[in-house]
Symmetry: C2
Subunit: 364 residues, 2 copies
């Protein structure tokens, strides 16, 4: 084991982590260019401080699914339908990242040509952070949109059947000197991983996070893990839970129904056996230039974002953030000081490397 | 006064209410075709049970602003920029409804031609329910999107300056035999009107709804009305308040910044004097046929919506709704049994009619 550097965390670098992901995935049969894409997406999550969607998933999700035959390492991605403003891909039960990136790149190219375009991918798997794909639009002065349905964890308002994934929406909008506005959020109040953390720490959940298996709101992590996540806004309608439920169902429609893929209760549950992922993604891009001069837009974005950041804080708070700002600052810090990897994940990666006979050299 | 019919409410009809709105607005100088559009949008809100955005606003908002010179009754709406997939209009500080409808109709025509299109309107005023414009896409087998910024009522996460409107998002997606999915929600947890209702009833607010003027969360309606609304998800980040804040800011960007209109702290506060509305709207449409066969899509929408409706309920609840279903059922019921108008609103409309010398004949 590599010695600990910062408490529970050890430090790697962006390049080393990307290289490691690529090596591991090619060792289990993924084509090199696809493996590079997965590395790019996973390490973007670690850079942004979204550990749950980074290299922590390499062994436990991607490699494990490939080895058990649930995910095709060399899937053929096919184009189902294509117009000057739309594209639908079938990922052939392959990795979500290369199929997602291909779809978003096509959407970007079409939006640069036509001004606006959308795409969807079906028969795919977990594609990492939604924001990654939305952000691909930024260098082209486009507004980027990305979302995905997922394994089911959540219940609709007043329901106890698990019907919805964490179904994130992501929007990326460029600014001038300010970092881009990057909103990337799950439509459940919290991710399932948060319940697991609270269980380990023997902490009570907040209200508005989960219900038990009978459909009653619970603050007990054990009960919640046997129940379902609540939509953003919490239980019932008083806190706006119907809004989060609506946003989650909207994602399922835009991804699953629009792509002709799986949706609703056809999607797998976490407890399901060796099923294909059946996940769908949705992408969009629109050209700012169709609305106004891009340079002026970006300068106004700076003014808008600064006005929020400079507004008055509530007692005890020193900063107001705009969406994507925390993740942007973490990316800069992690590029400068190293990318933290939890000691437990680090050990898992080391085991994985040894199993697959891949050199383990990720320490900074 | 017309006698009460159903407790606090009296009953009118769709046709009579629309005719009355048209007559009142033409009496204060609005062109007939524009007045008809406003009537259509306002009465759609009353039909859908969204009283706060219906004829209740006719006198208190629209006519009052026209009479005080804050809203131009015959504004010239100009096209600022136009491409095959985008349009930007300047509403010239006129009524939001005709400008909004014109923009959405242009977006629909462009999306039918190009597959996807977006539009924005600046220098406008309150345009009624966001869902009305999104729903204009439905007969064309398009997915419709609509949003608007508004007078400021809400604070960002960890902020106490009032920076954000209730900034709704609306999405309309057609189904086959099921009513369309129509998601139309404010990105604050509750509207300001809800605080006023709780104040009248001397009820405690729920947590997650509002802060006082010092930025502390409050359950006192009086304090809250002097403070600010909280974003969907509530105070701080534990309940996902940063997500609602992000969605509200997204609306302000897509409406205000993208249109070249007012945004952020340039928007009026409720306490501001005789200012123009400075409101902006955003619209979008995408063609389902760019993704898959429309008939199949609609049948899958039915399956999706029914799966949610048929899923298991929590104790004490008999129905799970999908977005837009309650409003659809109310519309049918109000067309059958009459459109309820609150007695107080009814009296205001009668006074307005008498002041403007317009016949008052709205009783069913």
């Amino acid at each position: 084991m590599t010695p600990a550097i910062a408490g529970e965390y050890r430090l790697s670098t962006e390049a080393k982590l990307k290289g490691f992901v690529t090596a591991i995935l090619t060792a289990v049969g993924v084509e090199r260019s696809d493996a590079v894409t997965v590395g790019d997406v996973l390490v973007a999550a670690d850079l942004r401080g979204v550990e749950s969607h980074g290299v922590a998933r390499l062994g436990s999700y991607y490699v494990s699914r490939i080895r058990s035959g649930r995910l095709a390492p060399r899937a053929e991605v096919t184009t189902v339908r294509e117009t000057p403003t739309s594209i639908v891909l079938d990922a052939g039960n392959g990795l979500g990242h290369p199929a997602g990136k291909r779809a978003m790149e096509a959407v970007i190219a079409k939006a640069r040509q036509s001004g606006a375009a959308f795409g969807a991918v079906r028969n795919s798997n977990h594609y990492g952070i939604a924001g990654y794909y939305a952000m691909l639009a930024l260098p082209h002065d486009l507004i980027g949109i990305s979302s995905t349905n997922s394994v089911r964890y959540g219940a609709p308002t007043y329901g106890k059947t698990i019907m919805l994934g964490t179904n994130p929406w992501a929007y990326a909008i460029p600014a001038d000197r300010e970092p881009a506005f990057v909103l990337d959020f799950a439509t459940t109040t919290v991710p399932r991983g948060k319940l697991e953390v609270y269980k380990r720490k023997e902490k009570q959940l907040n209200s508005g996070w989960a219900i038990d298996a009978d459909g009653n709101e619970t603050r007990d992590a054990d009960q919640a893990l046997r129940g379902a996540l609540l939509p953003l806004g919490g239980f019932g309608v008083d806190g706006g839970g119907h809004k989060g439920y609506g946003l989650g169902l909207l994602v399922d429609i835009m991804c699953g129904v629009l792509s002709g893929g799986a949706f609703g209760n056809e999607l797998p549950l976490p407890s399901d056996g060796p099923l294909p992922g059946k996940i769908s993604h949705f992408f969009g891009a629109l050209d700012i230039n169709g609305f106004r001069d891009v340079a002026r837009f970006k300068r106004d974005m700076d003014r808008e974002l600064r006005a929020f950041k400079d507004s008055q804080k509530v007692p005890g708070q020193e900063r107001i953030y705009v969406a994507g700002e925390i993740e942007y600052e973490k990316t800069l810090a992690h590029r400068e000081n190293g990318v933290p990897v939890h000691a437990k994940v680090w050990a898992e990666l080391e085991t994985l490397a040894s199993e697959l006979n891949v050199p383990f050299d990720i320490a900074r």
